[in-house]
Amino acid sequence: MTEINNQIVIIGGGHNGLVCASYLAKAGKQVTVLEAAGQVGGAAITREFAPGFKVSAGAHLLFMLDKTVCKELSLESAGLSFSQQNMTSTALAEDGNHLMIAGDSLQGANISSADQAAMKEYRRFMNRFAGIINRLNNRIPPRVGTKNRSDWIGLAKTALDVRMLGRDDMREFLRIAGINIYDILQENFENPLLKGALSLDGVLGTNLGPRSNNSVFCALHRLSGLQGMAVPRGGMGAVSNTLAMVAKQHGATIRTSATVSRILMDGDRVSGVELQDGEQITARTVVSNADPKKTFFDLLGARNLEAGFARRIQNIRMRGNVAKLHLALDGVPDFNGLNQNQLADRLLIAPDLDYVERAFNHSKYGEYSVKPVAEISIPSLHDDSLAPPGKHVLSAVVQYAPYQLKAGWSEEKAVLTDKVIDLLAAYAPGIRSQLVHKELLTPVDIENEFRISGGHWHHGELAIDQFLMLRPVPHSAQYASPVNGLFLCGAGSHPGGGVMGSAGRNAAHAVLGAKDIEGENS
């Protein structure tokens, strides 16, 4: 019995599942991670998309990795290294007069001194506010309305954090946290290129336009890693591989190509999982790195849940609105006005705020953007393991591309691919002639490849009503689900998406401190 109690199955070897596995294995648990794909990593992988060309197929920049996780799991001494760090963001202008944003300093695009001063103040308060979210990230969210002491302490800590901002900053924080980034940027800046580029902080990976409320919150969440943009050496897969290695060192077993088809129940608690080939693995604790809809509906079954909870899970907003473009190029692409050094920056196509908002408009009606926004990285410039010598890979996050495209994705995918290449060609006229291979992942492809319901990168929209004790929904926001023995550890839980690992770490702590609700038959 003790042995069974000690066994833990983790469904999904994404970065959070692997982090969770490390912590649980470290605590002496017998952990088995079951990954459906042929390699670990979930949406943080490096994979070949054309012979000799490799790319970070899901997330392509690292800027939120939990520093506590890094330290506690000694990821850097385990071999995690970076080909680029503290990347400059370059807002591209068609005429080549680009704007470089490095921290709070601005260069180019005839930027005014007023904007330069405003940028220092903007970074100051945004980083300060992001710090509040940062301190929430690696805590188990407190519950509201309980008499539990640790819940009260958790709530009080956050309230104190906000109060400690001082009168003026607290007022500003409370004013802007729930509103839209369009207004905030209009209040602070003049330069359209700057405003367009900064607005992406609030909308990348989401279902929001700059004028949608919650976009300031998303920007703060994105900044809450309190670190610069980086590209791991070997692509994002390197992060996952390092995590897997650490997990194994701590004694976890990791199985790939092991697709869990359902979670098994014994009375009112989980008893293990069944794989697609029929194999059953017994465990009194099952931790799911899959998104909440997949976990509760596809793997557990809605009928094993109480109806109010099932309704909440069904109502989680999680429809992807992002496509991912991968290009294999037979040379260094030539972007107007960028030298090769600058080319390795994080390149942004978001010429002004209204451009971004217009791009979003289409998606509200089930259409993709006629003129999309893009976040581009050419990681092969600093990492020769990704492409053959002299050749390069370009990776771009492209918005907006709704999961439920009115016209359907089967034919429109090729059309959008062409449109995005046309868009790039406006900045890098020769790029078409350098094309060796192209790949576009629509939200439907993302759903299929990474097994994320709705193809939403964050396993659920990031928004104040889906954050902290509301993520994914009340009664599972402390990682323990309403089903005894079943836990969540993925991005669908607090603190959400982005390659952080915080959810995995928090979940491990929740698993280790958990108690069942005992029924008459348990």
Binding site: A302, F309, A310, E520, N521
Partner: protein
């Protein structure tokens, strides 16, 4: 995921014949027979229907129900048709009791909760045939039932308007139905369902009711409503049959100790204020909660409640004097306020002022002496009495005939 389908066997309602746009309420399929009998010409409203408070005098109707038999129009009661492969697991997750124990041809009383273990409503499940059920309740629940279909292969439809129903209650009810030609009616046990051929259609009879006495409920298609009424009154003529309205029913059900949504508890999904709802344990319905089922709505919360203890007790009070203690506060002998009366009536059969009351736990143990603060009016002059009351265990009216099979003739 499950699809919610309308059962295509259910006929659409022809609203053009209902004239509801003139009256703002439906007329029952029995209206043509009720209308001339309704001497008071007063109509109340029950859900979407006109429903008489009383036809002549609620007192007379009450005594008819206890000494002869009465006909009460049940048509407005909410009725849902639930069928399909997963009908049983669907119901088992919905309600707190084990529905698999309700065999085909049987009726079971039940209640259902939200996730917080608070009662949404109580009602009856009719197991019509294998995988086919009817759920009857006071309140409307389509939204909650549809929410509950997620993950289940069930057909769910509301059939309130498609079934005409009468409750025939009282000691002569069996004799009346026998005279009407329902052979073998006397062999029906409490909670049995039988089908009879009647006027070229099928008449469904269940030995159920809301009066706590011998009684039956009759279910038929609305086209045969009038002929059913006529045949029933013809057969019941010598058995003292009378039509009965809602006022008499309230007296009868309180005597019988039956609770009613929105009277004795607030339906949880229609309640805004926290703490104003009740769990099954707090309504004396703990016997309906079966924790052996691995999952049902409210299970986790109710397990916690069992551990923590519940907040309220719903009790029956026997109050001194003859003033019904409607809407009264209940005090301990030391004048500490511990609850309120939720339903009350003068019970002519028990010759007592009786009430249902919700008391803060741990108050409400049988035998506990309490005070009920009753305000009453005589010709516009108000008076107040602190009436002594005792918590009683047994219901106020519980004759053996209620359960006898065959029931004693009258």
């Amino acid at each position: 995921m499950s699809q919610i389908n309308q059962d295509d066997k259910v006929k659409p309602i022809d609203f053009s014949t209902k004239a509801h746009y003139l009256t703002k309420a439906f007329r029952s399929p029995f209206y043509s027979r009720q209308e001339p009998l309704n001497h008071l010409k007063e109509w109340g409203r029950w859900a979407d229907y006109l429903s008489p408070h009383a036809y002549t005098c609620s007192g007379i109707e009450y005594f008819a129900a206890r000494n002869a038999c009465t006909v009460f129009d049940l048509t407005p009661m909410t009725k849902y048709h639930i069928s399909g492969k997963d009908a049983l697991p669907f119901l088992n997750r919905l309600v707190t009791r084990d529905v698999s124990k309700i065999k085909p041809g049987r009726v079971g009383y039940c209640c259902w909760c939200d996730d917080a273990g608070q009662v949404i409503d109580d009602g009856t499940i009719f197991h019509l045939s294998e995988n086919t059920y009817r759920l009857c309740s006071q309140e409307r629940h389509m939204d909650w039932l549809m929410t509950n279909t997620l993950g289940f292969d069930v057909l769910l439809s509301e059939e309130t308007h498609n079934v005409a129903a009468l409750a025939l209650q009282g000691p002569t009810s069996c004799a009346t139905l026998k005279r009407m030609g329902l052979d073998g009616i006397e062999n029906m046990k409490l909670f049995d369902i039988r089908h009879f051929n009647f006027e070229d259609t099928q008449l469904m009879v269940s030995r159920t009711g809301f009066t706590g006495y011998l009684g039956y409920e009759l279910w038929i298609d609305p086209e045969h409503a009038e002929v059913l009424w006529d045949r029933l009154f013809e057969a019941g003529n010598l058995h003292g049959i009378k039509p009965m309205g809602d006022e008499a029913l309230q007296m009868l059900r309180v005597e019988a100790g039956f609770i009613q949504a929105a009277h004795d508890f607030m339906p949880a999904n229609a309640t805004i204020r926290t703490g104003h709802t009740r769990s099954p344990f707090e309504l004396g319905l703990g016997w309906l909660v079966d924790f052996k089922k691995p999952v049902f709505n409210g299970r986790r919360a109710l397990l916690e409640e069992k551990k923590r203890g519940h907040r309220y007790n719903l009790v029956k009070l026997d109050i001194d004097g003859n003033k019904p203690g409607c809407d009264s506060y209940v005090f301990t002998k030391n004048k500490k306020r511990v609850g309120t009366v939720t339903s009350a009536t003068w019970s002519p059969s028990a010759k007592a002022s009786v009430a249902l009351a919700s008391l803060e736990a741990p108050h409400g143990k049988p035998g506990e002496e309490l005070l009920v603060e009753i305000y009453y009016q005589k010709e516009l002059k108000w008076s107040r009495v602190m009436a002594k009351a005792r918590v009683v265990k047994e219901v106020f009216f519980d004759p053996p005939r209620k359960r006898q099979t065959p029931p004693a003739d009258f």
